[in-house]
Subunit: 330 residues, 2 copies
């Protein structure tokens, strides 16, 4: 009996399911939740989605996002299964983590290598491009029909987690599933127009402000870029709009590791995203600051003013790039 | 006997093939040429690539680009077949068009709806995402092995013509072929790093200068952006580096048609690229100026100073957007 069988059997035996995912929702979280909820409803089950935080406006082109609960207050009392998606540990659930119904089994479906196997059943596939890819396999196993609604959710999950087939997690499987989704009525134009062709003038302005902060370190092998609360305020934008911005420093010639930092609302709190183009394990770097993720894509939060946080993480990346020469780099 | 059979039979009967493509080479042209040349060599044929103009530096990550001839002077005299790729008519070949060996049959392989069916045999598939996709099918039919070299050429062709699976020509076929190419040893990281992660600081600077020229027209349904010769000179960049720049105005919320203009070297000559997000036929607009292309992606050249060219094309796009109200738009 493989993992997928165990997961399918567990779901088959339940009738009222809570779906939840990590704070600062991304496309894989929201798309996978919506697709799985639709599939469970097809199978006659109640499915309710609640996260700690709202669905970013970017993803509201998918049907059903307005029915997703955005705080613990929307939790109900009648769940017989909790499915946690795309979260390497319980803490990533934010406030939901302490509010889960006591005694209800937790099914953990994830693809992060840093997953700590929490939950009564943990299905962790580090080779999956995205949780969306795993949900596709699960829905097929459960015998659900891949409707256009499900297709757009799964496409959103796969496209956002692979950087639209840019990153090294772009697998034959991810591409073949996307081809299948097109055959199931995926409205690719709708999804791509929303994800990649709906930049506001304000976001363009924010990007230009951010690009002016780009700095190179370690002889050009590290590029950092940052955004201040003031930049967000001046342009009327939100950090949730900038999930792809880390690709900007990453795309510079010769860069091995890109670092994007931005100020969170709480004073002296900074969110950091790392991307590695080569063999540098940025998950290990992020873990030094209490974060996690994948070898080539990771993140953390640091309680320091922006400039000090930037200095600290650059030092840590320099050490990871060249452990023996750390301290000698410019 | 279908088109593909006719093409395969023609090639099978020949032994020395000239491959050529359009001026201002793009990824579909270069990638398809290299892949087909490799396949023909496997089959024991001589294959020689000559275009009118150099291979843009962006594509030199593919093996064999330095053996590609860049002017008519490199043509030889012993061809028994000419294969023209990705070119809607003979004029698109630039100087090559008048220098083709007399009496040698021409095979025209293309996917543009504006193709005029030139050549002894014309294989035009307007449903193909790219010529690369057609070459994949052709190489399979010819029994060639898809080597890693061929895979990176075909991937380059498909990825650049679909905007990395962004545009509406992203078909199940294009995705499935890409999955197959991964299975044939495609070095996706190498190609993607070169295509999408090798931006020079200078190109970033050019992009910021260009973004400052963005203007909206027709109540925000048209966005234009332009680059002057001076911007290229100041940043040490070339128009060949900017083939994806038209996506910037195109990505603005509410925009139906994006127009990118830049000054060519010759005084008062402007290159224009059109992209349509909706039902506007920009190929028809480009044809008004002697250009062509696809319904949603087209281009032309105009002999006018930049500002006058910009005014003329915006008027033409406004007329295409709303034939009855043309003249009333701001």
């Amino acid at each position: 009996m493989d993992d997928l069988d165990r997961v399918a059997d567990l779901i088959a035996s339940k009738s009222s399911v809570l779906l939840t995912s990590h704070i600062r929702l991304d496309g894989d979280a929201v798309g996978s939740e919506l697709a799985l909820a639709d599939g469970l409803a097809q199978l006659g089950k109640k499915a309710h989605i609640v996260n700690d935080g709202p669905v970013p406006g970017l993803y509201t082109y998918m049907n059903g996002t307005h029915e997703i609960g955005a705080s613990v207050r929307e939790l109900r009392g009648d769940y017989d299964l909790v499915i946690v998606l795309d979260s390497s540990d319980r803490e990533r659930l934010g406030g939901i983590s302490n509010a889960l119904p006591q005694g209800t089994p937790v099914l953990n479906i994830d693809h992060h290598s840093s997953n700590d196997s929490f939950g009564e059943v943990a299905w962790v596939d580090v080779h999956a491009s995205s949780v969306g890819e795993m949900i596709y396999r699960l829905l097929r196993r459960l015998g659900a029909e891949i409707t256009p609604n499900i297709a757009i959710g799964l496409y959103t999950a796969i496209a956002t987690d692979t950087g639209r087939f840019l990153h090294s997690n772009t697998s034959p499987e991810a591409l073949k599933i996307t081809a299948e989704l097109l055959g199931c009525g995926l409205d690719l134009t709708k999804a791509n127009n929303a994800l990649y062709r709906c930049t506001s003038f304000n976001l363009l302005k924010l990007r230009m402000l951010a690009e002016e902060t780009i700095a190179l370190h370690a002889g050009g092998k590290i590029a950092s870029m940052h955004m201040t609360k003031r930049m967000f305020a001046e342009t009327g934008t939100s950090p949730l709009d900038t999930q792809e911005f880390v690709e900007i420093p990453r795309s510079i010639e010769g860069v091995s590791v890109a670092v994007l930092l931005y100020e969170l609302k709480k004073p002296n709190q900074v969110k950091v995203s790392f991307r590695s183009n080569e063999d540098v394990d940025v998950c290990a770097v992020a873990k030094q600051f209490g974060g996690g993720g994948h070898v080539r894509a990771a993140g953390c939060e640091i309680d320091l003013p922006l400039n000090r946080a930037e200095r600290r993480v650059i030092q840590a990346v320099e050490a990871a790039l060249c452990p023996s020469c750390h301290g000698a780099t410019p």
